[in-house]
Symmetry: D2
Subunit: 409 residues, 4 copies
């Protein structure tokens, strides 16, 4: 454990826990600490993080603060949504998708400042430690990784606070007591878990939700929104072209107001146990519905079904932290290939928790009213073709059925 480290880049939020880590790294490893604080849309000011880092003795040139919201949505969230990714059929992967970006930034800074180590504040029982560290190792195989929660002896809240006091780390009043649950947030979602949420038989208390009104509290009148897509990515709302992060922010507002995107889930962690989480993904929930809507008229059946079959694996890879693995890239190549004509607009009705597609249009639509109409049309669909189609599809089943007769039960 007492590895020789000279300079470490820490994913630093400015909060109490990562401040304790910062100090613990200095005292335990005697190394120079470089902080990286990202604006991922978590909804917190970054200025205090800088001030606190300075206060804790970090040199100004070692403080890195970056607004990565556009990069986050453009290069991580949107590619993932091209796949309609849902982990275990339900979870939109809001936390999972942010970790590779943070890892990548830390490694880039490590290279720039000549650091030989990186560190994060994820605990030893969760998935995030895996996601961070697989990212680090994939991008910089020889880097040293420090995971304080797995190493230190600050294993209780009391000890942590004692350490903080001993090292003059300011403690906000409301952090004295234990939080009733823990939260992760970024532009795509917020998640809450732990403590009051740990009994999966019990409904989550209402104060857990932070980012959405309850369906009950949402307006009694539906909101209609029109989302424009180009090549699989959302580009506009109600005709207005928007940058990725601006668009997702807008969708979050719409979703929040209409009580959309709450999920109460028991999921399977990569590290082996089940856990219960409350997720709020207001904009993402609307986006998934809309993306499926535009795909429904622009994707060929073969492509659509292949995507559906690949999706669970793709989602699992992201959940488990394998964003930078070649198999994730292979799947992405397949998925991206399918999105070339996923262009058009989708009308979504938002109402008290529901995001319902009610219309879709595309210059590249594969929907052909002439083909589908009950009237026999001018089009080259001959009813009699169906007979041959069925006959040959049935051939093997008939052979199979005939054999079944031969067999005594």
């Amino acid at each position: 454990m007492a590895r020789d480290v000279k300079k470490v880049v820490l994913a630093y939020s400015g909060g109490l826990d990562t401040s304790v880590i910062l100090k613990w790294l200095q005292t335990t490893y005697g190394c120079e600490v470089v902080t990286f604080t990202a604006d991922l849309g978590q909804g917190e000011e970054l200025t205090p993080a800088r001030e606190k880092a300075l206060l804790l003795g970090i040199k100004p040139e070692n403080i890195f603060i970056e607004d990565v919201r556009e990069e986050f949505v453009r290069d991580y969230v949107f590619p993932m949504f091209r796949a309609n990714a849902l982990y275990e059929g339900q979870y939109l992967l809001g936390t999972s998708i942010a970790r590779p970006l943070i890892a990548k930034k830390q490694i880039e800074i490590a290279r720039r400042v000549g650091a030989d180590a990186v560190s994060h504040g994820a605990t030893g029982k969760g998935n995030d430690q895996v996601r961070f560290e697989l990212g680090y190792y994939a991008l910089e195989p020889e880097i040293t990784v420090i995971a304080p929660w797995r190493e230190w002896d600050l294993t209780s809240r009391t000890r942590l606070l004692e350490f903080a006091e001993a090292h003059q780390i300011p403690i906000a009043k409301d952090k004295r007591g234990e939080a009733p649950f823990s939260v992760d947030a970024n532009l795509l979602h917020s998640s809450s878990e732990g403590k009051v949420l740990e009994d999966p038989a019990e409904d989550a208390p209402d104060y857990v939700y932070q980012r959405t009104l309850s369906p009950e509290a949402a307006p009694d009148v539906a909101t209609l929104v029109e989302i424009g897509f180009q090549q699989g990515d959302a580009v506009s709302i109600d005709g207005e072209l928007l940058s990725p992060a601006t668009l997702l922010t807008r969708l979050n507002e719409l979703g929040r107001a209409n009580g959309i995107g709450r999920l109460d889930l028991v999921e399977n962690r990569f590290v082996g146990m089940k856990s219960r989480g409350i997720y709020e993904t207001p904009g993402g929930t609307i986006l998934l519905a809309a993306h499926r809507g535009i795909e429904s008229i622009t994707l060929d059946r073969g492509a659509a079904h292949l995507k559906d079959e690949l999706m669970p694996r793709y989602a699992e890879l992201i959940y488990n932290g394998f964003w930078f693995a070649p198999e994730r890239e292979m799947l992405q190549a397949a998925i991206d290939h399918s999105q070339r004509f996923v262009t058009g607009t989708v009308k979504v009705k938002l109402y008290k928790g529901n995001a319902t597609v009610v219309g879709r249009e595309s210059p590249y639509s594969l929907y052909n009213q002439d083909l589908v109409t009950f009237e026999e049309g001018a089009v080259a669909y001959d009813h009699r073709d169906a007979a041959g189609f069925i006959k040959l599809n049935a051939l093997r089943l008939r052979t199979y059925g005939a054999r079944a007769r031969k067999i005594p039960d």
Copy 2:
């Protein structure tokens, strides 16, 4: 076409179209017609079907009417729900799953009465013709199949009505004009498609919906319901044990009242074109949510993920009409194996279109609060194990990452 047929078993609804078919079979093939009318929960009286068959000259012993609701839910709907089956990510397969049962019953009757042919009223552009006929052929390889809509020249509404009048088939007043869309219904769902629904850019008119209140019209107060499961199948509501069909009927009522289960979808038909359908699956939508809920605490991760990966293929097989194919049975064997301990109760909150799981309990729960808690517990989870876990998972990525360095871009 002028095949020699002596006796044909017709899937007969008692409606105008299948009455015309009945007469057309008699006149075209000069054969004896046997009618089979099933109560699948479509919500229509069966007595008129008997009377009409008699009126059209069917001998009493050739009229078969059967209430198959329990068999339908127990042997078709429930096995399918064990898979969490969704076609193209969204459709609960309400029409698809009813066809194999009807086909099976027709074949059984054909054997009993010594018929050499079967017939159905599905059109030449849809999926149902395929589902019926693959069922027939799989179960009775040498049967003759008559698909009037692919054979006759009654290709317009006018001609059909002329034929009906010429053969004294009673025409209900409201059947004179053309229906603004066509409907299929059974205990699991009702579907509407065609005509006014053919433009996927246009919202479906409200009068299309038949089986659900709109979310707007649903009560302003949520309803809580507790669904009990045994080995993957729902067995009780609020503690009351119910037969499969009774249970689904009850869930339909709950779903209907709370505006749950509407779906506006553009889907890909097996016969090659896209079509737009409006589906209402009130009870099924609640059931899917509840089943995922009970699985979330009782299924092991490996089983759950394998199920998710197999599901799209399974759903496609059912949609395409391959219920009696060996590959569907193989997948069913795998799925059923996973359901042995999917037993317990799930609380679902129903509110204006939302069916939200808010609690789950099971005597066989795999959820372990001791494992997941933030507190370091008595349990055998050692944080340091995570380090090794990550290290070995990272090993190939590190090797891969190291190679990437070697390569000039």
Copy 3:
């Protein structure tokens, strides 16, 4: 059937059957016939095809003859081998992969000469009709397709010969009698099926094999060959850079001489029945072994396993004729992405039917002797990491196993 056709592009081999088709098209459709004859490496002279076409009244400007061997290997065979494609675990898809190229060429010629139809000589029971026609339709949706074997009444050998004689089509002496089996050949393989091969219980007679010595007749001394790869494609033999077709030709010679690449298979046709074929793929068999060999040291495990899982689907798509379908292209995109570093050389030992990899080297090898050695090395592999790795992988199984105890059998 009596469709109005002005000009048709026929896939013309110069043999008796397609000559009859040529004449039948002229007499039945009264249309202008354009012939396309491709050198795919089937080992036949193309000059006679030109002469015969002239003799049958085809205008010189309507005769198209092209050597497509390089295009065939480069754009069809090699991409397919990147996938290690095997249909039903065994078949190297030699016939399947040639059809899309021929279809594409016919459509290109049809556009150039303003033809409104295409035609081929595949029978009504085989896969090739599907492969040709799916290719035609995908590339030129409105084209008219004429499949004489499904339309005409020349349903016996006798009638066919009568037609030939009636229309002064020269009949080679050895074509008078019926061939004991039918053959398809190109640079990748030759296949034989039908007649004497139709009983799958009986060994294929030795005279069926055309392209390989029997293992028994092959030399008693092994031949060593070194195959060089770049980005997944073979580029050299024993250090000599070779064009794709030249390389495959060379491998065919090596395979032939060493009795390599024979396969006696009962397979499942797309049109629904089982058939038995004798395949000879000498060079392809060596190529597959070598490609797996170079991948074994250059592909990451995640990529390799994903490829293995996608392969059966990919092979099925090619077998069924869906080369130009978007889902095949999506899989190709994934596969191609994996091949960037599949570069190096493989030593293969050829001996009496065996093609055995005995050595592989690559500048981009992921094989790391330091990691694997039994000696504890300098490398960052800590045995104790394995404990944590196993512990966390076991966690869900332990929970699962503990539950199993609770349950009365």
Copy 4:
């Protein structure tokens, strides 16, 4: 590490390494050691193992020796062969499949003798440690696992020998020096790896092979063998009914004599690195060919293709040690369901490394000569059905192709 252990069941071979482990367990843990020695067909006498155990102080009632060959083949090897399992396209999983059985036996003994721990001799870099321990934990979640190779400091050959001498462990003369490679063997295969085999560019020296003649040394005349199957499992050779282990033994002899079943492979270990192994699976190689042969006429296409798609995952699960995981059982349920009619006989020709299927017969054959014959037969295959089949399969591709035209490149 200094865990409190009272009684440990050791997988004991009687060789030097596990004898050292035995002593090390006694001295390090101060616990009672129970030995389990299995005859898996590795070709070694078991009597010396008993004597050695006694010599090392094990009480007679603590020595368990069992011939598990029949159970091994019947309950592990055969179920796996139903799947045609190949890891990474090539490896027949000979080592992997033996580990779960040993683990299960150790746990059974542990329960019988009241042991609280189990131990094995697998090293810290290999897959076997994972396979053993996942088995232990799945079957007995609270068991203590001791993996000496990951714990002790006997990290060099010298230290190991010193320990042996210090503890009066007899050392066979030929064990003084280091073995040039390490070996694992059971009735299914033998594997060799390490040391002289570690350079994947170099051919394996001939002395590595232990269980097969080289193809060159095999007879110049082929051997024909007829293998009978019932429900997917081999039951007879040349008409003689044989027990599973006897049958595999006989196939091994046939394979050995004919130079069949050698494999030189670089594979990906579960623990993250690539390794090179030399495998000899003479009987298994014949069995796989024969099983594919009988399946080719008895399996429906849908079942066969689903099996092929599931196989890589199934093989990976076994390779990684997840035999007792529910997802392996689910796949097994699907596979077993497909084998009901996989009954019949297959003729295999064995010749200098080749195992070639040359004939297959079954009372349940799905091969139908009438269907496949070129002659238009009495059977219900109408060539014109193919037209409709192709037309509807093409429909989506035509729509897709038509759209492609709309798009400016």
